[in-house]
Symmetry: C2
């Protein structure tokens, strides 16, 4: 077709992006390699030159998603080292931004959770989840030491809740109820951490 010729690394990136979009819209089994090739404007066979199989392509998509999630969390908690309230607000904003401006990535995280008994998916995704949990746990421990967060909060448990918050927002979004995400919900998610009741 009128496809421009790309370098192999750029083409790989492009195919991966298109694949993520198609997987997000149709789930793994619902997406076809033909759909992906059409989204990318290339011949179906080219996918196999770059990724070998549909399954490996999906694994690459999961890997990309996980790495973006971890990178996002890391950067947020790095830029607010000792401002828990700002950090938590930024965390929620990060989630919402993911849901609204990077819908494909958001859907992928949800999709991965559903496809989590595929061994290959587990192997790629769970390490990222573990890193995300440990990043959150570390932040909570630091805030506890600084007296920002109640002492009787268990850091690992709180990390689970913060990570899981994303699932709640995603559920609201996919239900078409993200508009209900207001200060009330944010407060309900964040309140248990406050050393003193927030103003």
């Amino acid at each position: 077709m009128a496809t421009k010729r790309l370098s192999s690394v750029e083409r790989r990136k492009q195919i991966l992006g298109c694949a993520i979009r198609v997987f997000a819209r149709n789930s793994y089994h619902g997406a076809t390699t033909r759909m992906i090739s059409e989204e990318a404007g290339i011949a179906e066979a080219l996918i196999y030159r770059y990724f070998g199989s549909k399954r490996k392509l999906f694994s690459a998509a999961v890997d990309h998603t996980g790495s973006r999630l971890v990178a996002g969390l890391q950067s947020i908690l790095d830029t607010h080292p000792d401002e828990p309230l700002a950090a938590l607000a930024a965390l929620l904003r990060f989630y919402v931004d993911l849901l609204e401006r990077h819908e494909e990535l958001a859907k992928m995280i949800f999709l991965v959770s559903a496809e989590l008994d595929d061994p290959e998916v587990r192997e790629v995704y769970l390490p990222y989840q573990e890193r995300a949990l440990s990043i959150l746990k570390g932040a909570i421990e630091r805030w506890q030491a600084a007296g920002f967060v109640r002492d009787d909060v268990a850091p690992r448990a709180a990390a689970w809740v913060l990570l899981g918050s994303y699932q709640l927002l995603a559920l609201m979004k996919h239900s078409g109820r993200l508009d209900e995400l207001n200060l009330d919900v944010a407060l309900a998610l964040v309140r248990p951490f406050a050393a003193a009741p927030p103003s």
Copy 2:
């Protein structure tokens, strides 16, 4: 085959049960009508006599799942009308029980969330979700009036969080980390409601 002859209502129930199991294991697109017929020990054609199409069968499975979820919530909050702590504990136990003893149903809820941009699925599932939210919201409002729950908790927002808690537990379960669900996590989920810090 050696299939016993059943009445139409019993056969319908049996096929639905098998379909839920197969859908839960393979997601909608991953499950095939052949798999379902084999699970039920019947000819594939019989599925179409009873349900018309794979999609309608899935809708029936979603409907069953939603109705079980709502019924469970309703019964829990009915049996603990003015004991918020007992009710919340029962709620978490209900979720965990769903995850451990009715794995197919648990997986279905997760699966529905992922398939939520299919209009037919939305149409079947969202009303159940709305009912679940309003059941939870009603309970929280009653507890507030009785002084069990802080006044600055927004009932609808809290209902979202309680409903979303299930997603967190499901994520832990599918990650193989349900063993981490201890008092700490339960407390992190429930603490924001307490009028006074729980003992």
